[in-house]
């Protein structure tokens, strides 16, 4: 399939590149905010630990940003290489946010360069902190604009098709589509949530190795609180995303929920397997929950998958992607809520090693949730690339050798992924916290 069907190979290559880019992109969106918060607390309380936190995160960030830029450039060009017909159409209607995104990149790149290379050039630390604001805004805007494009793919708007010709293009309407509000906010909230839990996972891991480490305790405490806030926001917005789907892309929700017949009082089906009669076995049924997710009322009607022609039904595997995302989302809320309560009430177990292992697991799990969310959103759009207007088959390139390109890029991402981990490990092992703290206390800032 990979080597003789360009459309299939293009899908696989897009899947591969985006799944890889989103890891670095999420870091690119989230880390600047965390650095900002840490540096701000550090300056305000004159607390060395937080200042060091900001500095260490920024150092690691240099590495991930570079890989993020590389993979982003790849996906940007690949969109035209793999989906030329789609980009030709899209260029006419949705090029505006893509173009704006470039300015966000410029903005981010310029100030990031300045921020990273000027740690010791400002006498006033606050001025240095100010430089981070454009970086954080730039990252957030990149996510905003690209998600606007993706929303357009899910709910195209802002043009008419008359006799196969595209007319009345309205680039502004194309940006503010129905899918946009929930998608954009969900993506940005999940990025912040994920990065908070990623940093919490690092801190928890260090605390397992070395129990009484003030620096990592502060880092853990701060990131878990931020994580909790954004995890709750994520779930709330996720619920709204469900309502959006029910109203405008019911086939995706139905496939994700294995909801085959239109019914009222629909239960939420979690996990399980489908038998030959399309019945879910071994599944967890939460009564009324799907009706609530879809419309906010337990007795409302939810459209089933059977109402759609076979060739327009999304694959039902997205059920597992959806469940992965939601399960992890709920798990992270519970985990960070218990931690927060536990720390306030001085429950001893939240500082036990076994609990910290859960926190360590939370980092990778949050990333898994991001991947699962995108897979569900994108695979659930099948067979469409532009819902209702252009299918994936029509959009794909006609040139050969896409399969070989897949192999080539898979090798590249493997090297980049391994390289990132090796370099980051080396960097932080060479400069342990204790040493850097000493150096900072002696007054010399440069590390």
């Amino acid at each position: 399939m990979l080597f003789d069907d360009p459309a299939y190979a293009s899908r696989m290559l897009t899947l591969l590149t985006l799944s890889f880019h989103i890891i670095y992109a999420t870091i690119g969106v989230g880390v600047p905010l965390m650095i900002m918060i840490a540096q701000w607390i550090g300056i305000k309380n004159n607390d060395m630990h937080y200042l060091l936190m900001a500095r260490r995160w920024a150092k690691g960030f240099v590495v991930t940003v570079a890989v993020g830029v590389v993979t982003g450039t790849i996906i940007g060009l690949q969109l035209s290489l793999l989906w030329p017909s789609f980009m030709e159409l899209a260029g006419n209607i949705i090029a505006l946010p893509l173009f704006m995104e470039v300015f966000a990149f410029f903005f981010e790149a310029i100030f990031l360069g300045i921020y990273l290379y000027t740690w010791d050039r400002f006498d006033n630390q606050r001025k240095h902190l100010l430089l981070l604001i454009p970086v954080a805004i730039g990252g957030g805007m990149s996510a905003f604009f690209i998600t606007v494009v993706n929303s357009f793919m899910n709910s195209p708007a802002g043009f008419d098709i008359v006799g196969g010709e595209l007319v009345n293009a309205n680039p502004i309407m194309a940006m503010f589509t129905l899918a946009m509000p929930t998608k954009v906010t969900h993506v940005i909230a999940t990025a912040y949530m994920t990065i908070a839990f990623m940093l919490a996972a690092f801190a928890a891991f260090r605390l397992i190795q070395n129990k009484n480490n003030e620096y990592h305790k502060k880092a853990l405490h701060m990131t878990m609180k931020i994580g909790l806030i954004f995890a709750i926001a994520t779930a709330l917005i996720g619920d709204l995303s469900g309502k959006y789907l029910a109203a405008y892309q019911p086939e995706k929700l139905a496939a994700a929920e294995w909801h085959f017949e239109t019914t009222t009082e629909a239960p939420l089906v979690m996990w399980g397997v489908l038998d030959e009669n399309n019945e879910a076995r071994y599944a967890l049924h939460v009564p009324y929950a799907l009706s609530i997710l879809a419309h906010g009322l337990p007795n409302s009607e939810v459209i089933g998958l059977e109402e759609f022609p076979i060739e327009e039904q999304p694959p039902v595997v997205i059920h597992y992607f959806f469940d992965t995302m939601v399960t992890i989302g709920v798990f992270m809320i519970v985990l960070s809520l218990i931690y927060w309560f536990g720390m306030r009430r001085k429950w001893a177990f939240v500082e036990k090693t076994w609990y910290r292992w859960f926190i360590v697991a939370g980092g990778p799990l949050a990333f898994l949730a991001i991947e699962a969310g995108w897979w569900m959103a994108e695979v659930g759009r099948q067979p469409w690339i532009l819902r209702g207007i252009m299918t994936v088959e029509e959009a794909a390139t006609t040139s050969d050798y896409v399969g070989w390109m897949f192999v080539l890029f898979a090798i590249l991402y493997f090297i980049l992924g391994v390289g990132t981990i090796v370099v980051l490990r080396y960097m932080f092992h060479k400069n342990p916290v204790e040493k850097e703290l000493e150096r900072m206390q002696q007054g010399g800032g440069q590390s």
């Binding site: 240099v62 590495v63 991930t64 570079a66 830029v69 590389v70 993979t71 982003g72 450039t73 790849i74 940007g76 060009l77 035209s80 290489l81 793999l82 989906w83 030329p84 017909s85 980009m87 159409l89 260029g91 006419n92 090029a95 505006l96 893509l98 173009f99 995104e101 470039v102 300015f103 990149f105 410029f106 903005f107 790149a109 310029i110 100030f111 990031l112 360069g113 300045i114 990273l116 290379y117 010791d120 050039r121 293009a169 309205n170 680039p171 390139t397 006609t398 040139s399 896409v402 390109m405 080539l408 890029f409 590249l412 090297i415 980049l416 390289g419 090796v422 370099v423 080396y426 960097m427």
Partner: protein, 337 residues
């Protein structure tokens, strides 16, 4: 009519920007690798770290700007070029990835892996070569239609003398631009060894550059007479370019005013590049896409231009700040801060 001219001018301007600052980046990598091989280590690696590391991302965005912008202004190019460029485009991406990851891994991780530095240097030569192929393709004659889809004739492309003269020019230009810039930059840092070395390279590559450029004009005459005719119509632009080239070389020869020399070089390339671009008009891909038929709708065009103006209002001050802090800050370049 006026909108498409604005559109293509903006794109051409950014492509020009990318060619200049990209060349500096590519060439520096190559000279660095070369000095490692010839055991003149680390004359250049310091400059690369101090100047290139803070700005390479910005360089990259120029490239992104170009390919996003062209799809916006001329969506039809996405279809034609997207379909035919799968392989050359993917290879260029891999080379870009090698360069980007060098900044991530090499400058912040372990210091000085030889093989990696050499790969980084070589990719700096292969990249302009692979990107310049797109210019060759746009001259026409290498793309034919099969079942209504464009297909690239790799054989014809590979055996065309035009391809190879453009490849050679792109490589020589990279080395020359970068050598002239680095001569100036090294001189500002007060590093005498590096200045002398770079000056030697700059002079060494100046003659091949002009030969390669002249070669292309000759090739075009056979390959695309239509283009050749319009090129002749703009002879004065190339004449100015030639004069600027002479002035640059003289200044460098006399070890005077490296800064002026660099800006003269920018002028030289600007005249040649825009002369070439204007004579290409109106075709984006001869004879399949012209800027008139391939242009986007008016609403999109106007909104893109508005965004461009707003974007520049934001960018120009920021870029100025960046250059002030890294390129023109005396203390920074001398390595004191």
């Amino acid at each position: 009519m006026i909108l498409e001219i604005i559109g293509i001018s903006v794109l051409w301007l950014f492509l020009f920007g990318y060619i200049i600052i990209g060349s500096i980046d590519y060439g520096a990598g190559f000279f660095n690798a070369y000095s490692i091989v010839t055991e003149k280590q680390h004359i250049l690696s310091k400059i690369i770290k101090r100047y290139l590391s803070p700005v390479w991302e910005v360089t990259n965005v120029f490239f992104v700007f170009f390919f996003v912008g062209i799809v916006g202004f001329f969506p039809e190019t996405a279809y034609y070029f997207g379909t035919i460029l799968l392989i050359p485009g993917s290879l260029a991406l891999i080379l870009l990835a090698i360069r980007g990851s060098y900044y991530a891994f090499e400058s912040y991780g372990k210091h000085g892996h030889k093989g990696y530095a050499i790969m980084y240097g070589l990719s700096g030569l292969l990249l302009p070569a692979s990107l310049s192929i797109i210019l060759t393709i746009s001259e026409g004659g290498f793309v034919f239609m099969e079942d209504g889809n464009p297909v690239l004739d790799y054989n014809a492309l590979f055996f065309s003398p035009l391809t190879w003269s453009i490849v050679v020019l792109s490589i020589v230009a990279v080395l020359y631009i970068s050598a002239v810039f680095l001569t100036w930059y090294a001189n500002e840092t007060g590093d005498k060894d590096a200045t002398d070395l770079m000056r030697k390279y700059a002079l060494g590559w100046s003659i091949p550059l002009i030969i390669a450029a002249a070669g292309i004009i000759v090739e075009l005459r056979f390959h695309n007479p239509f283009h050749f005719e319009s090129l002749l119509g703009l002879w004065w632009m190339f004449a100015i370019s030639f004069v600027l080239w002479i002035l640059t070389v003289v200044l460098i020869w006399k070890r005077r005013n490296y800064r002026t020399a660099f800006w003269l070089l920018v002028g030289q390339f600007a005249f040649a590049f825009f002369g070439y671009g204007i004579s290409h008009y109106p075709y984006l891909l001869y004879p399949h896409i012209s800027i008139h038929e391939g242009f986007t709708n008016t609403a999109m065009a106007i909104s893109l231009i508005v965004v461009f103006i707003l974007g520049m209002a934001l960018l120009i001050p920021s870029l100025y700040l960046l250059l002030k802090l890294f390129l023109f800050d005396k203390n920074y370049i001398k390595g004191k801060k």
